[in-house]
Amino acid sequence: MAVVQNHVSLSGLSHVFEDGRAPLRVLDNLTFSVPRGRFLSIIGPSGCGKSTLLRAIGGLLHPSEGVVSVDGEQPGRAQGRRDVGFVFQDPSLLPWRSVIANVRLPLEIAGNGRVDNADPDAVLEMVGLADFRNYYPHQLSGGMQQRVALARAIVFDPSLLLMDEPFGALDEITRSAMRYELLRIWQSQAPAAERRTVVFVTHSVAEAVAVSDRVIVLSKQPGRIVADVDIELPRPRTEEAERTQPFLDYTNHLRDVLRAAA
């Protein structure tokens, strides 16, 4: 059996939406790979195809051209093994289900016999909402709802986590707290080699630098890679580190790139 070095690989990926009046090219010839256990952010101006890219990696969308592989296979295969977790900008919880029932939803969808190692209560504990297991979504704040969505995404313990602007709808203070909460959960998987691979779409430069090992910047439509920057800041990251010069150097550089790309 071949050792798969890269968890996610894209080669010559392009996508054109045909359903509009004129074909709309949103992604143009993207090629990059993500090694297992890395935290990658994708950043770019609105409409650069970030979400489309994430959907292609998650197997929710067939790209017009190019190849996506997850674990060396088609994305659908990894998805079929429940090895991919999704978090969207809208928590999209089911309002008639309690918190714990929402986290249990993926297990119910998967059916019996595939849920042996999943423990919804443990996952809820991990995101710090054990006390709220019997609450309903409308009783929770936006940040808490998004934590439930995260718990729901990782209840199968997937090795790949795809996050589409997960904190985009939150206020600045909650948003900043949530990124370190996410990192805490991500780093709780030790050793580092066994951590989840995360592909994180955002439009906040500070957020991308704070959480990532690597940041890819896309140009505006159609999205092309205009920068691919390794973030060599020590982990674990802290909020204080956001005031240090290395952090600011990264954000300044990325902001320049973004301005040139837009």
């Binding site: 998650g58 197997g59 929710l60 998805q79 079929g80 429940r82 991919v84 999704f86 969207f88 809208d90 928590p91 999209s92 919880l93 089911l94 309002p95 008639w96 939803l105 993926p106 119910e108 969808i109 998967a110 309903y136 979504p137 409308h138 729901r152």
Partner: protein, 259 residues
């Protein structure tokens, strides 16, 4: 206790006072103009007639309510099943919807005599008329409800490779609940109307028959008492549906914001 009192004062007292005023004016007008009882009974005449034999009205009302409820259930069930199929197939929707519209625009009073000929004089024609009247509003609401799902939730379930059945039972069906309740508020009174009208044509029992016979005999107190009983049933159904809705739709904005 204070909450209950306040609720009574806020929600029950105003309509009760309004009703009492209307009845008082009515009673006064009949006495003042000396209206003959064949033309219009006074509220006191109607009440007297009802108190004379409440069991009679209750028994006849139960028949009408039974026919209406059975028709409502059958019509709603058919509508929901069809809407579930239509929600997944535009072809079925395009094929069936025009037929449903024809059934809807054809006047009930035109269909009722035909149904009597075809279905005889028993309970069946009344149930069928009630079912026909319930069908269309439920079909339209259920179809909208099954389609009006949160796109994020749908996307998430697709990302979990949920089956069509899983998406229906765990997302579309619960999402449609507010629409189904809205439909019931329209269709239950319609089913009652349907049962009464069908009884006019074919009945041997039920409030429709009572109204028909009382009308022929110029027995206005019985006529008005029957109408009052029908109105009362309508109010009870409405209140019962509201209470049920509050319990079932505790998660929905429409219920949460009225607390």
């Amino acid at each position: 206790m204070r909450v209950v009192t306040r609720a009574l004062v806020t929600y029950v007292l105003p309509p009760v006072i309004a009703c009492a005023l209307v009845l008082a004016f009515w009673e006064f007008y009949i006495a003042w103009k000396d209206v003959h009882i064949i033309v219009m009974p006074a509220p006191s005449d109607v009440a007297e007639r009802f108190i004379e034999d409440p069991e009679f009205f209750a028994r006849e009302a139960m028949w009408t309510l039974y026919e209406a409820t059975l028709g409502l259930l059958l019509g709603s069930l058919a509508a929901i099943l069809l809407a579930a199929v239509m929600a997944h197939s535009r072809t079925v929707e395009r094929t069936v919807f025009p037929l449903a519209i024809i059934a809807k625009v054809t006047p009930l009073v035109a269909i009722a005599p035909v149904l009597v000929i075809v279905l005889g004089f028993g309970t069946t024609p009344k149930v069928v008329v009630a079912a026909l009247l319930s069908f269309f509003p439920m079909l339209v609401n259920a179809l909208t409800g099954f389609r009006d799902v949160n796109t994020g939730s749908l996307e998430f379930m697709r990302s979990m490779r949920a089956s069509t059945w899983a998406i229906f039972s765990k997302l579309r069906w619960p999402s449609a609940q507010p629409y189904l309740f809205a439909a019931l508020r329209i269709t239950y009174p319609l089913a009652l109307i349907g049962a009464v009208v069908a009884e006019w044509f074919t009945g041997d029992r039920g409030l429709g028959v009572v109204i028909y016979v009382a009308n022929a005999n110029l027995d206005t107190p019985t006529l008005f008492a029957s109408i009052a009983v029908l109105a009362f049933i309508g109010i009870v159904i409405n209140v019962a549906l509201s209470l049920l809705e509050r319990r079932v739709l505790f998660w929905h904005e429409s219920v949460r914001t009225t607390h």
